[in-house]
């Protein structure tokens, strides 16, 4: 069996979740590597879509930001933010969109914090802010979230809700006035969580080879259902070759 890192595993798990034909709304960082991997592995007809206005970017190289000049090459249209977000909010395109982004904190309903730790007005740590993820998570049919598996990141109530998940559970989005959609999976460096159809609460669905469900639970401040966890398929040699040679040869993100 080939050697691989859990970060490589994260990229591939996200890529496997992207369906052929999806419009992939990509955040900055590992999300972009996942979208590129999907295009090469499982979903060659997926469309890589950036909030900056790059629509169906042909990524010859891994961009470092959604504003990177690399997202402007070979697109269908080079537009701007008004057009890109307008397409996301459009009721005919929104259900086809899958959003992928990361966060600093998450709660059991998939609400995300990318703004601050501590008091909002005088925080202990300030982060960049919600950017376009809040908009995308409000409209997109599905969202995939990348998290680092750490106790302080999986919490009962996030310090600031930058991006909506299922809000307080069943019916929460509807009550808040948000369109249909919501988070579908959380990918960490130890495994994968999904959200229960009824309760909208996070449960452990997969662990990476060699990781036990209890180990994942130990790295969370919230208790989740572990009973449904199965082992995730390890990467293939071909998948790893693609990640290392084609997608991120400089090791910038993965």
């Amino acid at each position: 069996m080939p050697q691989y890192s859990f970060r490589e595993m994260m990229v591939l798990v996200a890529a496997r979740e992207i369906r052929d034909g999806d419009i992939v709304f990509c955040g900055t960082g590992i999300s972009m590597a996942a979208a590129m991997a999907a295009k090469h592995i499982s979903a060659p007809h997926s469309i890589i879509f950036f909030e900056t206005g790059g629509i169906d970017s042909q990524l010859l190289e891994l961009p470092l930001s959604v504003g990177d000049p690399r997202v402007m090459f070979g697109t269908s249209i080079n537009a701007g933010l008004a057009e890109a977000f307008g397409i996301l909010q459009n009721p005919f395109t929104a259900p086809r969109v899958v959003g992928i982004f990361g966060a600093a904190q998450i709660d059991r309903y998939g609400n995300l914090n990318t703004t601050c730790i501590g008091n909002y007005w005088r925080p202990k740590v300030r982060f960049p802010g919600c950017g376009g993820a809040c908009d995308a998570a409000s409209y997109a049919g599905r969202t995939i979230i990348f998290m680092k598996q750490e106790k302080r990141k999986f919490v009962e109530g996030v310090d600031y809700v930058s991006t909506p998940g299922w809000i307080p559970g069943p019916g929460g989005r509807e009550e808040a006035g948000l369109p249909e959609g919501g988070p579908t999976m959380v990918i960490t460096d130890m495994g994968v969580m999904r959200f229960d159809d009824e309760s909208k609460q996070m449960y452990l669905s997969h662990t990476y080879p060699g990781i036990r469900p209890q180990q994942v639970q130990e790295e969370m401040d919230i208790e989740i259902d572990l009973s449904r966890a199965v082992e995730e398929k390890p990467p293939t040699v071909e998948e790893l070759f693609l990640l290392r040679e084609r997608i991120d040869p400089q090791g910038l993100i993965i």
């Binding site: 470092l64 202990k124 950017g131 809040c134 908009d135 600031y160 909506p164």
Partner: protein, 325 residues
């Protein structure tokens, strides 16, 4: 301002159109097309008490905050991705230290706020962010809002869609438009009258440009009016909305300018190292901004070799295989 020659040098453009206490909006996105030459000149001229509007911004706003030029910021995202892990370095420090007034919006909200301003509307409707703290928590307190007649009393406001049939509830958020005193953008090309051509993604630059009372555009290259009008479908900003055109090659360095040069990973990493500490940040400012008279002086410090290493391949618009670590 009509078709007269609007070309002027950096120092004149900033002296004439940027004043202490102004509300300014800055174009570009994270590591691309930040109007850096204009920003450095604002710092050199020691402008103070600026109120800054951006959406997702990277380098220019971080320097303005760090140099003490800004009292307040409205934004959706501050950072240069892996060149400032966890967010814009001086921006973070200012907020964590309670040194700046700030207000968070989303990228789409900021964009709509500029679009509203550009179209003369007082607000714009948007469907996102219901149920989030972006709606619930307001950064500016009532006193600050009251003391500043250029900003509205409310951050945002949720209403019911008045057009539903049967009186069904459907919430929609209204965000206030922005009409800044000045907008600064960096474009690839312009002519002397002020017609502007942005290549690659325009981000929200066009909306920001049109929303402002005064508009300063720095550009890589000046085209003849006849030449820029040969392909008018590639132009975005009408000349009569422009107040100053400043020709500054590498005017977005160390951020990228599609078709001309890539971002400069070496310089962005250098900034990251120096910005973390107050003392070394001061040294950075002294060396690269205050200690030079013009953008030419800055580029000399950066060095010709570095600039040639990031020169774009015209086929793809960036520098392929650039070492970006």
């Amino acid at each position: 301002m009509n078709a007269e020659n609007k070309v002027m040098d950096l120092s004149e453009a900033i002296r004439r159109f940027v004043h202490d206490g102004d509300h300014i909006s800055i174009g570009g996105f994270t590591i691309t097309r930040n109007p850096m030459a204009l920003t450095y000149e604002i710092i050199r001229q020691g402008k103070k008490h600026l109120h800054i509007y951006v959406h997702s911004h990277g380098q220019a706003f971080d320097l303005l905050i760090g140099a003490g030029c800004a009292d307040a910021i409205e934004l959706s995202y501050g950072g240069t991705a892996r060149f400032s892990p966890g967010g814009g370095i001086r921006f973070k420090k200012a907020i964590e230290g309670g040194k700046i007034h700030f207000e968070d919006y989303t990228n789409f909200q900021m964009t709509l706020r500029f679009l509203g301003g550009a179209m003369g509307l007082p607000f714009m409707p948007i469907r996102s962010l219901l149920g989030t703290d972006v709606v619930k928590k307001w950064g500016f307190d009532a006193e600050f809002r009251e003391s500043n007649p250029k900003i509205p009393e409310k951050k945002m406001f949720a209403v019911n869609n008045p057009f539903t049939r049967d009186g069904r509830d459907e919430k929609i958020v209204l965000v206030p438009a922005i009409n800044p005193d000045v907008t600064l953008i960096h474009a690839q090309q312009a002519d002397s009258q002020g017609t502007v051509r942005i290549k690659g993604l325009t981000y929200t630059d066009v909306e920001q440009a049109k929303a402002a009372k005064y508009l300063i555009v720095s550009c890589e290259e000046l085209l003849e009016t006849g030449a820029i009008r040969e392909n008018p479908d590639q132009n975005q900003i009408p000349f009569f909305m422009v107040d100053a055109i400043v020709i500054v090659p590498y005017g977005a360095h160390p951020t990228a300018c599609y078709g001309y040069y890539d971002y400069d990973p070496f310089h962005l990493n250098l900034y990251r190292e120096m910005a973390f500490d107050d003392g070394t940040f001061r040294r950075y400012l002294d060396e690269y901004v205050l200690g030079v008279k013009s953008h030419d002086g800055y580029l000399e410090k950066v060095g010709k070799d570095r600039l040639s290493q990031i020169k774009a391949d015209p086929k793809v618009g960036y520098r392929p295989r650039l070492d970006r670590r």
